[in-house]
Every structure is written in C-alpha cells, then in structure tokens.
C-alpha cells in the first residue's frame, strides 16, 4: 500500500508541530522518520495512523483519501513506544484482541491458529500464556508487533520501536525487524531519533527539523551528500569552523576551501572527525592539541585552532603527538554551508 502525504499541517494550541509536509512512501518500502525531539516526527506518524487529525492537507492510502478515516477503520498496525500491551491480558489474548473486536467474524479456532502462527513469527512460541509483566522488554516489543500484525494492516507504523531497550537488544531486534519486513513486504514507517537506527534499518530516511522535511533519501544519499548543516550535524559528530566566502572560495583564517555556488558572506566549514589529518607543518588550519583520548580502535584528539575553535578528530591508535603540541589540521571532504 502506497502512502502519500500532501502538504499536511498540524498545530497544537499555538505550537505548529508540522508545517506542510509532503511525502511519498512506496508500497513495500521501509521508511524512517528521523529527527530530534520536537521535530514533528511522531505527530506525522500519528496522523498517518489516524490517532491525530491533520489540520490541513491530505493523507492518501493508495488512491484513497484516508485523511478523515477514523483510526478504527484505517487498517493500520501501530506499535507504541512503550508497547501499550494490555496488562490484564495474556500475551495470546493481547495478540488475539484485534481479531476478536474485528468486524470480520472469525471462529475461536481460527483466531487460536493465527495467534500461534504470529507467536512463531515473532519467535515467542510457548509464551502465549504469560502476562506482559512476566516477559522482558524485547519480548514485549515483539508481542506488540505481533498484535499489530494480527489485524492484517495495510501499513505498519512504529513509534520509536527500540527506544526503551538496551543497546544489545536494540541491535538484534533491528536486524530481526528488517528480516520480518522483507518476509512480509508490508509498507512500514517508523519514527526514531537515533540516526544509526534509521540508517541501519530503512530503505529511505526522511530527516525532519522543526516540523519540516529537511532532506530525504537513501542512507547513502543523506550520508554522502547532506544538503545543509543541520543534516550534517544530526547524522553524526561534526566539527564546524566559521568561514568567509569570497568569489566562490571559503576562507578559514588563511586556509582556502572550495565553495562554488555560495554567495559571498558568512559561512561555516563542517567536517567529520575521521576526515582530519594532523600535520606538523605545511598546509591546514593551525591548531594546538588539548587532550588525547584513547578508544578501543582509535585515538580521539581534542584540539583548538589558533582562531579559538574547539575541534575533535580521530586518528590511528599509534598517533604519536601529545598534549600541548602545535601543528596543522588538514581537512578532507570539507562541506561549506552558508550561515545566517
């Protein structure tokens, strides 16, 4: 089921949470809505589900205008951040709930079979008689997914699906969710504030800031060509040095960077910690080492440019330089963005 959002707007009291968002999710695609808190990502997800009504714009499921279809009839599977499992029902009862209240009558036998099937799908066979309070967080997550899938939803929506889990369980569940998605081929939209999660799991990443889409594309596209400083910063550690643009060149202190197409004026040069080489002399921005931090597979160097800017960069574990030494930072893959 293809989903399209056309200029969707949502305002809470006086706070505009979503500003005219338009978005296409192709049938069978797995898309991540990525953004910091307050970026409107959860609101968008809840509007697709019908848990919130859009104040403006339209939401289409395939060709059908679903904007005003109530959540009950919209046919979406929604997995809540804290799972929202019914605490007074067993795991099996939780999964069966949607089928029991459905307008489509199913025999008790058919429901039982489907519950078993779903328990097997989420690898929880045999735990059907437990209560949600008696299973682990990762297991609850999978029950929530099975419960959402039980009603054969047209779209699967997940709100911060791994937010409440610890790091190891997160990674396992992430890979597993991707596998399930590939098996079922159901159109899936999920919300996360964790860029690693989005890049790891999604076919396409939609990055949001302050209720607007700032960039969307495959993980490769958003990683390799961030369109603005926000995306660059949000996707990973980034250093920034203030620069001035003149005639298609950006200058940091006296060092020159290519800035074609940028208007003259204030700008900043952004670069990843891994894209720095330390030179004892020669080209680069002059800087002094403040601290050297050791990590299992690298060394991170904290330094300060002579212009007073703090920067951090990663080096090989054999990096020989020490605190207090002066030198130059040679920046590979710099990205220049206009500021102001």
């Amino acid at each position: 089921m293809k989903i399209s959002l056309d200029n969707v707007v949502k305002t809470f009291d006086t706070f505009r949470a979503v500003h005219g968002v338009s978005l296409q999710i192709e049938s069978g695609e797995l898309v991540a809505l990525l953004g910091p808190s307050g970026s409107g990502k959860t609101t968008i997800l809840r509007m697709v589900a019908g848990l919130e009504y859009a104040d403006g714009g339209h939401i289409y499921f395939g060709e059908e205008d679903a904007t005003d279809i109530p959540v009950r009839d919209r046919g979406v599977g929604f997995v809540f951040q804290h799972y929202a499992l019914f605490p007074h029902m067993t795991v099996a009862e939780n999964i069966a709930f949607g089928m029991k209240v459905s307008k489509i009558r199913r025999s008790a036998e058919a429901i039982r079979e489907r519950v078993e099937e779903l328990l097997a799908l989420v690898q929880l066979s045999g735990l059907g008689q437990r209560f949600p309070g008696q299973i682990s967080g990762g297991q609850r997550q999978r029950v929530a997914l099975a419960r959402a899938l039980a009603v054969d939803p047209r779209v699967l929506l997940l709100d911060e699906p791994f937010g409440a889990l610890d790091a190891n369980v997160r990674r396992d569940l992430r890979r597993w969710l991707r596998k399930i998605h590939d098996e079922l081929g159901i159109t899936t939209l999920f919300v996360t504030h964790d860029q690693e999660e989005a890049l790891d799991l999604a076919d396409r990443v939609v990055i949001l800031d302050k209720g607007r889409i700032v960039q969307q594309g495959t993980p490769e596209e958003v990683c390799r060509s961030p369109e603005n400083a926000f995306v660059m910063r949000f996707l990973g550690d980034a250093n920034a040095l203030p620069a001035t643009v003149r005639d298609g060149k950006a200058y940091v202190q006296d060092v020159e960077f290519d800035a074609q197409g940028l208007a003259d004026g204030a700008a900043e040069v952004l670069f990843r910690p891994a894209d720095v080489a330390w030179r004892e002399d020669g080209q680069g921005v002059p800087a002094q080492i403040l601290r050297v931090l050791d990590r299992p597979d690298s060394r991170r160097v904290l330094a300060k440019t002579t212009g007073g800017q703090s920067i951090e960069f990663d080096t090989a574990p054999e990096f020989p330089h020490r605190k207090g030494e002066a030198g130059f930072i040679d920046i590979r893959r710099p990205r220049v963005y206009a500021t102001g």
Binding site: F80, P87, H88, F97, G98, F131, G133, S136, G137, A148
Partner: protein, 298 residues
C-alpha cells in the same frame, strides 16, 4: 541482609527503637480515642437496656422507614454518581477540550463546600419560593421534602468521590492502551469494557465504597431538603438526631449502630472483593504493576 558484616550498621532515620515506639504509641492512642472508643460506645449503649429493647427500637416503624429510605437513597444516588464519576474521569483524562481544568475544579467543589450550603441552594432552586418551585408545583412534581430532593442533595455531596479516585490513576495510565485498542479496531464502548475498566476496577471500587458510605451518612444537606418529616422523609442520620433530641438515647444509639453496621458491611464487601482480586495477582491490574514485576530475560 546482604551478608555478615563485621560493622554494626548505623541506624537510618526513623529506625531508632525509641522513635519507632513513640510513633506507634501516638498512632494507637489516636486510633483508640478518636475512632475505636466512640464506636464501641455506640454498640454498648445500644444494648444497654437489653437486647429485647434494642430489637424493639429497631423494629419501631419510623426507624424502619428511615433505614429503608437511607438504603433506597444509596441505591439510586450511588449508581448515578458512579456513572457520572467514570464519565467525568474519562472525559478529563482521555480527551482534550477547552475548560478541562475548570471542570476538574468544579467537580471538586462539593469537597470544599459545606453540605448545608448545598442543601440551602437546592431549596432556592427547587423549593416553593425557588426558581423552579412554582413550575414544579404546577406540574405536581414534589422535589423538596421528598425522595428526589434527598437523592439530589446526596448526589451533590458525593459527586467527586468516584471521579477523584479515578482521575489520578487514569492520568498515570495515559491514553496508550485506549489508542492501541482503537487502532486494533475496537469501538469506544468495547475499549472501555475490555481495556479501561479492568485497569481501573480497584480504584473504582474504592470510590464507590466511599461514595456509598457518605450517601448513607450525609446529614447536613439532606436535613435542609428533607423537611425532617418523621416516617416519611427522615433518613437514618436525621432520625438518629431526632431520637436523640427526644431523649430516647437507646433508640438513638440503636439506630446509630445500624448506620455503623451498614458502613462496616460496605467495608467488608470491599475487602472481600479485593481479596478475590489479590488471588489473581498474576494479572497485574495496573500499568505500574506491570512495570514493577521483575523482568524475565529471553
């Protein structure tokens, strides 16, 4: 008990024996003087002239009528206020609408306002000289000095009881469960019955018990609107006062013991119901219970 320790653990605040004993003594003293002693006196005085006299006092037609009227009032007012309380708590916690906070405050007014004010204001609205008085008289509807007035006044006084028990709990539970149920295709009514109600039932029960005790015991508001007509509009608390003023101490105490018994029966019903619930501990009744249980790793 984390293992043998060679050092004596320094006592934490409130653990010193002297403090503990003093605290306990103060509490027991207050319970005895404020609660237990007066209640025992009721029982003792009620049978002070012998059981036959007690039985006769109870069997007295006016007293019997007062008991029936009190029970009838509770049977009408408690279910209505329960339904109202659930509806109010549901509306306030699960929906956003303008004036939500105001409604919360209005519901609590009966808690802070003296019941006699409620009684008098009902008199102004429904009484003969009141707002609707002439219209009601013309329609031959008797509200004041009759059962409807007594029920209305009781309902005013006890309106917040159920809602106030439910609102904090339902607020803590949030809307996730209802949203989950609806997204799975459940209707509002179905969601309420199968998801909301099972998770609020203990708080609801407690609210109903409190509401019931208060309806049966309400004096101030009811005394204004009932007119104190012996054998007709006298509820049990009013009747007790009447007997007392008639210098019928034993009758008054006998009637009071009935009222106390009604309250104790209510409390017993609550305890029994809770016991049954406790037997099903493996069905955690609240989300909080759900989280606090130890996690079983896969």
């Amino acid at each position: 008990m984390t293992g043998p320790s060679p050092h004596r653990r320094p006592p934490r605040i409130g653990e010193a024996p002297a403090f503990r004993r003093t605290l306990l003594a103060i509490v027991l003293f207050f319970v005895a003087v404020i609660i237990v002693a007066p209640l025992s006196v009721i029982g003792v005085h009620a049978v002070s002239k012998g059981l036959p006299y007690f039985a006769a006092a109870i069997a007295e037609p006016d007293t019997r009528h007062a008991i029936m009227l009190t029970v009838l009032t509770a049977l009408i007012a408690v279910p209505i206020n329960t339904a109202f309380g659930i509806a109010a708590a549901w509306a306030i916690t699960k929906h956003d609408f303008p004036g939500r906070r105001l409604l919360l405050i209005v519901i609590e007014i009966p808690f802070s306002v003296s019941p006699i004010v409620a009684g008098v204001s009902y008199l102004f609205v429904y009484g003969l000289q009141g707002l609707f008085g002439p219209a009601l008289e013309a329609a031959d509807l008797k509200i004041m000095f009759a059962l409807p007035g007594i029920v209305l006044a009781s309902m005013f006084v006890t309106a917040p009881f159920v809602a106030r028990e439910l609102i904090p709990l339902m607020q803590a539970q949030g809307r996730d469960l209802e949203e989950a149920a609806t997204s799975l295709g459940a209707s509002g009514w179905r969601t309420f019955l199968t998801v909301t109600l099972p998770n609020i039932k203990w708080a609801l029960l407690y609210g109903v018990v409190l509401c019931n005790s208060r309806v049966m015991g309400e004096f101030g508001a009811v005394s204004v609107v009932s007119g104190n007509i012996r054998g007709q509009t006298n509820t049990l608390p009013l009747h007790i006062e009447l007997l007392y003023h008639d210098y019928d101490a034993v009758g008054a105490f006998a009637a009071a013991s009935i009222l106390a018994t009604l309250a104790i029966v209510t409390l017993c019903v609550k305890v029994v119901l809770e016991r049954q619930g406790a037997g099903r501990r493996n069905r955690p009744a609240t989300l909080a219970g759900n989280e606090s249980l130890s996690e079983v790793k896969p």
